[in-house]
Structure formats: structure tokens, C-alpha cells
Amino acid sequence: MNPFLRILVSLLLALPASRSLAFQAPEIRVGLSAEEIFAGESVDYTVEIRNTENPAAPDMSALRDLFEVVATGDQSRNQSSTTIINGRVSQSTYLSHVYQFRLTPKQPGELQIPAPTATVDGKPLTGRKPSLRVLVPEPQDLVLVEMNSSHLKVYPTQPFTVNLTILVQPLPDNASTDPLRPLRRQPPHIEVNWIDTPDHLSAGDKYQWLQPLLARDSTGFTLNDVSASSGSFFFGESRAAVLDLSKGRETRNSPDGTPRDYFKYELSRTFTAETFGRIPLGPAVVKGAFVSEIGRDGYRAKKVVATAPAIEIEVREVPLPRPTNYCGGIGDFTVDAIARPTKLRVGDPITLTVRLQRAGDSGSLDLISAPDLSSNEQLAADFELIDKDPTGRVDGVTKEFSYVVRPKRADVSIPALSIATFDPLAEAFKQIGTAPIALEVSEAVGLNSVDLIGSVSSSTSGLKSRSEGIFQNITDPAALRDERVGWVAWSELVAVAWAVAGATSAVVLLRRRHASDGGLQRRQLAKRNANKRLGAARSALSRGDSKLAMREVRSAVIGLIADARNRVSEGLTATDVEQVLAAANVTEVDRSAIKKLLESIEAHEYGAGLPTDPKSAIDEASAWLRRVAPLLEHGA
């Protein structure tokens, strides 16, 4: 069978159940992560709605009487597959949506968890009712657990610290050794619900908070599902992180009233309230085997579960009525102001920076908005406030607002500015203020570069040539020239300039080179000079001077050879001519003819009779010239 087909068939066979599920009636299934927990602990509860698409979340209201219910997410587990075998298409669909919750019992005992309900296609569905046994920890004084907060009533942005304190009795045989040290193989466990930041609160990064607490020798507590690997945190990993929470010793009274020394462990986290309301934190549970006595074979451990009841943080709203200059700050703040420049003229802008600085543990700066300076009557009377609501800038513990104001007249100064904040400790509004800032404001008779904003140096001559003033626009439409760069035009222009200059220079230099080359010039004029001489021969012949005519014919032939090869014509013999012509690939016939002609002319010069008719000699030389001259020019 084709492997691809085989896979498809396997998939088809593996999903018969799901295929059948697609046609089953909708149902709700519930699951519980544990059947027995201690009071204060939580249990994971899942509600799976099957055989329907996109079901609505189940109604969990029936559970809220017995449990604190926190939704921890939901996910679709729908699956669908299509198989094609021999052209036959079959589809199977599995529909499932799982909602996850965390339940924290409000009371101990055998609890039957009420069934969740959901409405599917208009019909109500109900799941089963699982049981959960919630055990009450036995009274004991081996381990004490307490949870408290630095503030139980806070205002938004006000930080508060939650402390979980665990007290453990010393070892029976060694009061100075950490009682958790013998428990390193199985450290006790802490379960508390504020490791992940609860809703409506903010806190620092969880990893950064827990990293310094990581125990180096595995002595300490494990916490929720916090895991560690190679010193770093990875939630959900198998190896639980052990945290060193040791904080020294503390004495407490035992139930019988006798003081008892305990080892103290503490887990603290600082939160900041973000919105109003009541926020429950806890309960906290510590469970594990602690050393209770010493036997023959060593320490004997006792399983202990200790809980601390939940606490509730009330986040209050800043009371009404609020002062008109209230800036939104909650906490302890100081304020100051800076003005630049302090020496200016009427109408010149001043940057007035108002800085609110937060004291150590005061609230966040985020809620602080720009103080309304226009409510300051003196400032509004003396200055034009250009930007009434500038954006604040946070720099560490300071938030600053930069206003731009202009003095309306001379001899005015920035008055003291008063800003209201809310003191959460005193639960009252508090006025904080800036000191007055003296200015030197003179009448605006003209701009002086020195008096402009300090960034401009006094040596800048341009300041004196314009009268618009700073922040004044350029108003001349003539300034609206297009300042785009014509890249293509410039490139073409440069290319043309180089091409023209290069070409022209090449032509000029070439011509000069020709002008200075005598051999070249002789070669170029060789044929013309030869024809001239033949013309002279014809003239001489017409005058009846046949001797001169023959001499001119010889000069024409010898001259052509000499000019073509840049040689001295006077020394050339008929044999030299023949050699030159042979080198120029002139035919044997032409070579012989011209050699014969030259020899007869030379013989005639030395007294022999005319070998041939001068006219025929001129015509023969002329015809020879036409044939040979091109060969001599090309072969130069």
C-alpha cells in the first residue's frame, strides 16, 4: 500500500471514537486535581463541555457559597481530520472546550462541589458533583504561621508590604542549628496566593523578587509551583526551588504560657494598589515533615499542616471634596520650580519647569497630572500661559512638567506656586509649594541676541538681522523655493561635462599628435606629391622637354616610396624600391615593371637613349601609382 495512504488509513482507524463523538449529545465533565486538601489550600477544577461548538462559559455561581472561585483560563481542544482513500472523502470532528478554575474552600469538612451549569442550544446542562475533603490542621506549636500587611487600608498608588512569617521550633538536641537543615531532602512547602500578582495590584517582577531568596544548600521552603534549574527560575519544571527565608530568632509563648524560642522565616512582598476595592490575600498554608523529637536512629519527623488566615486589603478612594490645585499625587512629595531664562524681555518665552519629587515609599508618579498653573491668580495676571497641560516626564523619583510662559509686562516674577497632594498616612490633603523665582523682565524694545535663550551665543551675527523673534514663523513666501536636490539633472550634467571635455581633449590631442608626426605627414602626402610630380612630368613633356619629364616620373615613383616609408629619396635605387615593394606585398608584375622603368630612366640619365615613349612612361607610372599607393599606405 502507498505509505501516504497507509498513514491516512491509520489516522482514520485511530479516530473512530472521535468521529462517533461528533454525533453524540453535548455533555459536561468535571475534574478535580485532589480529593483531600487542608483548609487554606486550593484545588484545580476543570469543566469540559463536549460535543458542541463554541460553548459559553459554565455558570459557577452555585460554587461560590462554598469556595473562592478564580478562573485560570480556558482552551479549545477541538480536533478535526479529513481522510481521502481511493477518492472517498470522510471527515471526523471532536469538539471539546475546557474551562479551568482554582477553588479555595471557605470551610472545612466533607464538601460536595455543586455542579456547574451551562446552556447549550438553549438546553441547560449539568455536570456531576465531586466531593472534596477539607481537613482542619491539628492544633500544634511546632510550626506557627502568620500573615499580615504593613497597611490594611491603602490608597491607590500607595505601596504596602505583605509578610508571611513562619516560626519553627529548634531541633531537640541542638538549639542553634537551623531546624530546616535536616529536612533538605524534602523541604516543607508554602502555598500562598500572592506569588503571582493578584488582580488590581501591581508588584515588581516575580523572578527578580525570588531570585535572591534561592537557597544555596537546599535548606528552606518550597513555594507554590516555583521551580529552579541551574540557579534560574522556570515555572512548571520538575525540581522545586528551595527558598532561604531565614530571619533569625523570635520568642513566643507556648499554649501553656511558657516562653519558647523559635527560628523565624519570613516571605515579604511589596504591592501597589491600582484600583479601589477590597482585595483578599491568603490564606497561607505551610505543610511538611518537621523534626519533633530524637530517637535511637536519629531525628523523627512529624507531618504538620499550619495555616494563616487570609487578610483583606481595603483600597480607598481619595476623599471628596478635593482642592482645585490637587495634582493627583498620593504620598509624600516635595516640589520645586526652575525658570529659564531669568533675564528676558516682555513677550519672550520662559520655560518654567515644575518638579515633583517623591519621598522614599510614596505612591507612584503615574497618577500625577500637570498642575493647573492658571489657577494661580498672580501667575495668570502677569504671564501668558502657552501650554497649560504639558506632558510630564518621569526621571527616577521625580516627575517634571515644562510649561512655556511669556511675561505680559516688565518687572514681574514667578510667584510661589502651591500644589495639593494627598497624605495617605494622615488621610488629609497637604499643600506643598515652590519658592518665588525672581526674573529680570524689561520692556521689549528690540531683540538682543545675548538675551535670547541661552543656547545662542552672543557672537551669532544672524540674530541681529531678523526682527521676528523666537518662535516666530518665517512669513516671506519668497522663502518657499523648492529645495529638493535634482539628483538626476546634476548627475547628467556632470557626466556630460566629463564626456564633452574628454572627447574634446582627445580630438585636440590627436590632431596635435598628427601635426607633430613628420613621417605620418609624409605618408599622408605621398600619393598627392607623386601625382603632382607626374603632373609636372606632363607639363615638361608638353613643353618638349622629355628628359625633364622622365626625371619627374622617376621622382614621382621614388618620392612615393620614400614618403611612404619616411626614407631619404636621394639614396634610393631601383633595387631598394623593389625590396620596399616586395615588403609591401606589391605583385611581381608591378615590381618588375617599375624596376624596369626606373633602370631605363637612370640609364637615360647617363646617356643611353630613351627606352620608351615618355608619354607611355607617364601613363604607366600613373596607373602603377593608383595600384601601389594604397598598398604602401596600408603597409606603413
Partner: protein, 253 residues
């Protein structure tokens, strides 16, 4: 010789090389100035800024418009956009003392200002770079590169070898000016330079699910260099703090 005269004419009068149609721009310019003068609220200054922006269509560039645009945004309280436009204007009005002062004022007022990047090493060599406008640099480069071959040609024709030194000097000036233009390309820089226009969180990837890139949000006026951009996100390099992706609605370029 006739070609030489034509070339010199072209070099000395490059304005016609660029098409100009300023009538609608002049009307928008005057309208924007009127809006600016009448404005009393940030919203009205913003309207003036929009009118100035309308002048800069089709790649049109003008230092005065950028400067006025910076002023309008400054008055509107949008310090990031003000800084951006003052910086653009600097390429065309490099010696304007008002522009310099206003830019420093905007930077001082911007809530998101970051560390100022150090001057690049070559700015010490090209010491005049902050003194000349970008178009002037291009003009100088073009004239020198055109003049060099022409002077060389004259030297050849007139048999004046000493003029070849002048041609070489012009060529050197043209190449140096060309390097300056390449390193300070205002048109290229306007594509790479950007600024944050509102409070936003830079992230380590193109999505809200990515971790914040910095421990604090970025705020109006934070300048940065664009490294990459998608349809929705821009990757920026922020001086002194590093790189991060920002949603495009918080970025002005």
C-alpha cells in the same frame, strides 16, 4: 567653445532643472500662517501644522516650512514632531540662530528626551558640514565636478599646464563635497530619523505579546534611528538604551 558656454550656463543656473509650481504652496503657506497667528489652543496650532504639512506633498522640501511646522507643533505641545521638523529644517537653514534655539527649547521641553548621540568622527574632518545647507553642498559638489573637466579642457586647448592643478583642486573639492553629501544626506536622513510622539512601550518583537524592550515606556520627543520597519511596527535604535520595536502610530518620520 559653444558647448563650453552652454555647460557653464547650465552649471551656474541649476534652478530650472527642478520643476516648480509654487502657487498652491504659497496659498497654503499664507493660510497656515493665518491659522498660526489666530491659534489659542493646541488644537488650533495642530490645524496650522496640518496646513504646513500639506505644502510638503510630492517630496517637496523647504527649510522655512519645516521650521514653521516645528513652531506649530511646539505650540501644540507635540514636542516630538517639533523636534523632528526642526531637525529637518536644520539641513536647509543650518546657520539660523532661531532654529537652533527653538530646537534646544523643544528638546528641553520634551518629556521623552534621550541622551544626545556623540558627533560622528567624520564631522571633525568635514568641519564645515554644520555650516552649509544641504542644497548648497550638492551645488558645490556638482559645480566642482563639472568645473574640473572644463578647466582641464581649457588647460589642454590653451596649452596652460598650470590650469591642470586648478582642475585637480576642483576635482578634490567635488569629491570631498560629494563625501559630505553622502554622509549628511538630508533626504536619506529624513527616512532614517524618527521620533516618538506619545507614551508607548517599546517591545522586543513585532507584537504586544513580546516583552518590553526597556524598563520604562518611551515618551514624546524620544529620537531614534530607524533600523527596520513593517506595516505596523518600526525597529528603532535609541541612543544609550538600545533597540526596540514601536507601533507605527507612535512614530513620526
Amino acid at each position: 567653445m559653444r558647448i563650453l558656454v552652454m555647460l557653464i550656463t547650465l552649471v551656474m543656473w541649476p534652478a530650472p532643472l527642478v520643476a516648480t509650481d509654487n502657487s498652491f504652496r504659497e496659498r497654503s503657506f499664507v493660510r497656515a500662517l493665518d491659522l498660526f497667528d489666530a491659534a489659542q489652543t493646541p488644537e488650533l496650532y495642530r490645524q496650522s501644522a496640518e496646513e504646513f504639512e500639506s505644502i510638503l506633498v510630492d517630496g517637496y522640501r523647504n527649510g522655512a516650512v519645516y521650521y514653521n511646522l516645528g513652531n506649530a507643533y511646539f505650540r501644540a505641545g507635540e514636542y516630538g514632531r517639533a523636534i523632528l521638523n526642526y531637525r529637518k529644517a536644520q539641513a536647509y537653514l543650518p546657520r539660523d540662530p532661531y532654529l537652533k534655539a527653538n530646537l534646544q527649547q523643544a528638546i528641553a521641553a520634551a518629556p521623552g528626551k534621550l541622551a544626545i548621540p556623540p558627533q560622528p568622527w567624520w564631522s571633525h574632518i568635514l568641519f564645515w558640514t554644520a555650516w552649509m545647507s544641504f542644497p548648497a553642498k550638492v551645488f558645490m559638489c556638482g559645480v566642482a565636478l563639472c568645473g574640473s573637466p572644463l578647466v582641464m579642457l581649457i588647460a589642454v586647448i590653451a596649452r596652460m599646464p598650470r590650469l591642470s592643478w586648478l582642475a585637480a583642486a576642483l576635482l578634490a573639492i567635488g569629491l570631498i563635497a560629494g563625501a559630505d553629501v553622502a554622509l549628511n544626506n538630508a533626504e536619506a536622513a529624513s527616512k532614517q530619523r524618527a521620533v516618538i510622539t506619545g507614551e508607548t512601550i517599546a517591545r522586543k518583537g513585532t507584537g504586544y505579546s513580546y516583552e518590553p524592550a526597556f524598563d520604562q515606556p518611551l515618551r514624546d520627543g524620544a529620537e531614534f534611528r530607524v533600523l527596520n520597519a513593517t506595516a505596523d511596527w518600526t525597529l528603532g535604535r535609541f541612543e544609550g538604551i538600545g533597540d526596540g520595536w514601536i507601533r507605527n502610530e507612535y512614530v513620526a518620520r
